[in-house]
């Protein structure tokens, strides 16, 4: 293993370009370690996000060698392939499909706005005076909801989706995945509004099952399948005139 790594980092605001840095290689080094080193010792003006640095918060999501991932959970050794003495390059860019604020930090507003537009919030009618809702954990709805409930809104799926790139209105995998967990929440009372919000080409029906979201999700969720569930439900309601 050579001692130095060549890293291309995206720098810029409205426009941008890659800048090269030489970073010392370490054992068990993650991409976030590399970015941190550059900002601390080589380029103090580099802007990037991180928080927990242990794979729990999703703040450090960036595009590494073309693929969106959590940089704190991505080992350099896994993405940089040394071939016959030639060290591969590490390319770090901000997430795709989101406006770049500066360098590696993107504006996530559109991502969360779409979450809200997909009715990704729970709404119930119970009050503190009511008894607890009883939901069987093994019921099909709860199993379906649980399969997608761990999403922490990191944006990797949204950044990986080509349909998001092709259709500016498309709500995207995360918002739709969250909507599906709520469609399956038997306590929620805004189901008709939610189905209306997620139907059509701005919603689930534009998904072409490319599967990049499911392929890249760091929590191994499957937005593709959640969206498939929404497609069925929403189309049935549309054809029956219930939308």
């Amino acid at each position: 293993m050579s001692t130095m790594l060549t890293v291309k980092v995206w720098r810029g605001t409205a426009g941008g370009a890659f800048t090269r840095y030489e970073v010392p290689r370490q054992a068990s080094q993650t991409v976030l370690d590399v970015v941190t080193h550059i900002q601390r010792y080589l380029e103090p003006t580099l802007s990037y996000r991180f928080a927990c640095r242990v794979g729990m918060c999703g703040s450090c999501a960036m595009t590494v060698n073309g693929k969106a991932c959590w940089t704190c959970r991505t080992h350099v050794a896994k993405v940089v392939k040394d071939v016959a003495g030639d060290v591969g390059e590490l390319e770090i860019a901000p997430l795709s499909n989101l406006p770049v604020i500066k360098d590696l930090a993107t504006d996530m507003s559109a991502f969360f706005d779409k979450w809200a537009r997909a009715k990704g919030q729970f709404k119930g009618t119970a009050t503190r005076a009511d008894d607890f809702a009883k939901v069987a954990p093994a019921s099909p709805e709860r199993v379906a909801a649980n399969a997608g409930i761990e999403c922490i809104g990191c944006g990797v799926c949204y950044a990986s989706c080509d349909v998001v790139g092709w259709r500016p209105d498309y709500l995207g995998p995360a918002a739709l995945n969250r909507a599906w967990t709520l469609v399956n929440d038997v306590r929620d009372v805004q189901q008709p509004e939610r189905l209306r919000a997620v139907a059509g080409d701005a919603g689930c029906h534009a998904c072409h099952t490319q599967g990049s979201c499911t392929e890249r999700c760091p929590k191994q969720l499957a937005p593709t399948l959640a969206i498939a569930g929404l497609k069925r439900k929403a189309a049935k309601a549309a054809v029956r005139g219930e939308l």
């Binding site: 092709w166 139907a199 059509g200 919603g203 029906h205 929403a234 189309a235 054809v239 939308l243």
Partner: protein, 114 residues
């Protein structure tokens, strides 16, 4: 809810329903054409089997209708996503193509069965 979204949901639905019909039709058609192509194609060979064969005609008429429903939906998507056309233009183009397929397809069925 926007009527555009309702139409889009319906288009998705009819594309999938026609796909189910087509899965069957295509499977049969693959068998038919692999059989028919043996020894070379000739008008006599084809028409000898299709003329007056109304079961054949009914099957292929259904096939044509399913195509005319199924193809435009995908084409409209490609036109919007890859060719940069506005949705209204893409839909118009796709529908026109669907009508073309329906007319030419039914004409072709009639041509070989009647």
């Amino acid at each position: 809810m926007s009527t555009a979204a309702i139409s889009q949901a319906k288009r998705w639905y009819w594309q999938r329903v026609s796909a189910m019909v087509l899965a069957l039709c295509v499977f049969v058609h693959l068998g038919v054409l692999i059989y028919a192509v043996r020894g070379g194609l000739s008008a006599a060979g084809i028409l000898g089997r299709t003329q007056g064969n109304w079961a054949f005609g009914a099957f292929y008429a259904v096939f044509v209708v399913a195509c005319a429903v199924h193809v435009p939906v995908g084409l409209a998507n490609i036109a919007t996503e890859w060719w940069g056309l506005r949705e209204s233009v893409a839909l118009w183009l796709a529908r026109a193509f669907g009508v073309l397929l329906l007319v030419m397809g039914l004409r072709a069925v009639w041509a070989v069965v009647a």
